[in-house]
Amino acid sequence: MGRTLAEKVWDAHVVRRADGEPDLLYIDLHLVHEVTSPQAFEALRLAGRPVRRPDLTLATEDHNVPTVDTLLPIADPVSRAQVEALRKNCAEFGVRLFPMNDPGQGIVHVVGPQLGLSEPGMTIVCGDSHTSTHGAFGALAFGIGTSQVEHVLATQTLPQRRPKTMAVTVQGELPAGVTAKDLILAVIARIGTGGGAGYVIEYRGEAVRALSMEGRMTVCNMSIEAGARAGMIAPDETTFEYLKGRPNAPTGADWDAAVAYWRTLATDSDAVFDHEVVIDAPSLSPYVTWGTNPGQAAPLSSAVPDPAGYVDPAARASVERALAYMDLTPGAPLTDVAVDTVFIGSCTNGRLSDLRDAADVLRGRQVADGLRVLVVPGSMEVKAQAEAEGLDEVFRASGADWRSAGCSMCLGMNPDTLRPGERSASTSNRNFEGRQGPGGRTHLVSPAVAAATAVTGRLTAPADL
């Protein structure tokens, strides 16, 4: 029987297999950031162990870093201590680091792909659940905890149980104005926040093949919000085109050998998935979340759901609780929801094409009175590219705030946070209670919807401007 993409990549990385035990998988690339690594390095130090493969390890500062006044010391002493701990650990263990203000610095999941380090068929891990992003290249990429970070630093391997496989096939073409973000929000709304638990998702079908690499990264990034540790897309010409010429991509004969291998990775025609979901692309429209988990999403053109419509008492209680937290009225049009803040950025939507989408909407328009709009590029390279195209001028002219690179308001570990009761339209990945600041309320949207919302002050599709 044929194998799926995930199974092929898995099988190619098994160092040791023994009955009843998890497979020991080799890890091709380990990405590190300041938040989930200090306790792992400390454990190595206590055990007297080195980093086995510093040459397969890369660190960047992203979660804590301020996005303004970046040349000053970090004001928050606890954040500063954490960033300094990463610098000390990387120096001591010989790990390459992109510190704040370095042209290579950025969100860990933006940095890997832009360097060409994230390649098809690789295993990639990071102490961050959005590591699923790199699956867009046909890599098996998943988030790990700090004990596993320590394990990979020490051994370059990870014991893992083989996951089940799920195909999410998106048939047909996405309508104009419907983006990768809308697609993945619709997928999560369909299968639920736990629907992917235990699975690796492979995204397939015409609409997925038509996505750019950056759109594919947006889709794979949010696999974890459906409960799947990893999401993958088979590599194709779009993938190869993106990788060719990047700093860490193979060259010359190596490139040819790599591409020949990458072409063998696609799921065999006779392979069987453990579960299959089919989504009809032409039926999709811009999506937005109304609740407090990413599965609580609906078309922007619809209304706030009514808890009375849920038969299951637990589901009804969950919706009631979410609406109370979000301060929304059942039946109200979602386009009536007014926001205080718009955040454009994150590992989900902080790449160049995302900024172009937002700038296209904001060009020649003004941000609504009193609205705070933060535009935070995913990396310093994205920032430089955007500035070379003049996108920063578009944002500034509209009244938006153009910032430096980092995770920023996606999780509010730096000073970019919502105040209690504030409401945002955000291109990030999580609308959990308090995610962007204690008491803050988050609506997840695409960059284009975020930009249109910035213009009107209400949740708005660009087509309605």
Binding site: P22, T36, A47, G145, S147, P159, A257, A258, P438
Partner: protein, 195 residues
């Protein structure tokens, strides 16, 4: 890591589904570089509400958490496990766990026990009716007992053995270092490096 064989204790009934790791330990707490002291941050946003179940003195000293489905979704932060352990929890009982949380818990000796939803409901109702109700989580027998229920749960033999012995994965893996070295010798030359 502390070995887990059998544990008996009182429980906290957390009637919520989709409890994400941002709720278990908010990101503000993630700036710390230590591995201890996270108990004070456990569910800190919810604990600000005096009526939150963890603030009920009747449940003080409880060591088992009863939760709705999809416990531990979201971020990979192992701090969520450290916070639960630091607060005093030894096991979490839920119909379904998020994968990363479950792996983190098993790596630290916090037992994530998957039980049918009706059993979790029955235990939750029993604990709500009488907070003094004791529940036993028996890893050796792979069984949960309490409130008139005796229910088996699944956990593979290897993981069970590792938890009962209190062994951490790094030491186990390094016994196979020769295999890792052999694998490395066969890796394709074109694979990227970060240097």
């Amino acid at each position: 890591m502390e070995a887990f064989t059998i544990h008996t204790g009182r429980a906290v009934p957390l009637r919520r589904s989709d409890v994400d790791t941002d709720q278990i330990i908010p990101s503000e707490w993630l700036k710390r570089i230590e591995r201890t002291g996270f108990g004070a941050g456990l569910f800190s946003e919810w604990r600000a509400d005096p009526s939150f179940v963890l603030n009920d003195p009747a449940h003080a000293g409880a060591s088992i958490l009863l939760a709705g489905p999809d416990f531990g979704t979201g971020s990979s932060r192992e701090h969520a496990v450290w916070a639960l352990q630091d607060y005093g929890f030894r096991a979490v009982l839920s119909p379904r766990f998020a994968d990363i949380f479950r792996g983190n818990a098993l790596g630290n000796g916090l037992l994530p026990v998957v039980l049918p939803a009706d059993i979790v409901e029955a235990l939750t109702a029993a604990v709500e009716a009488d907070p003094a109700t004791e529940i036993t989580v028996d890893l050796e027998a792979r069984e949960v007992r309490g409130a008139g229920q005796i229910v088996g749960f699944d956990l593979d033999d290897f993981t069970r053995w590792r938890l009962m012995e209190g062994l951490d994965d790094v030491g186990l893996t390094l016994r196979h270092e020769d295999r890792i070295t052999a694998f490395e010798a066969e890796r394709a030359a074109w694979l990227p490096t970060t240097v």
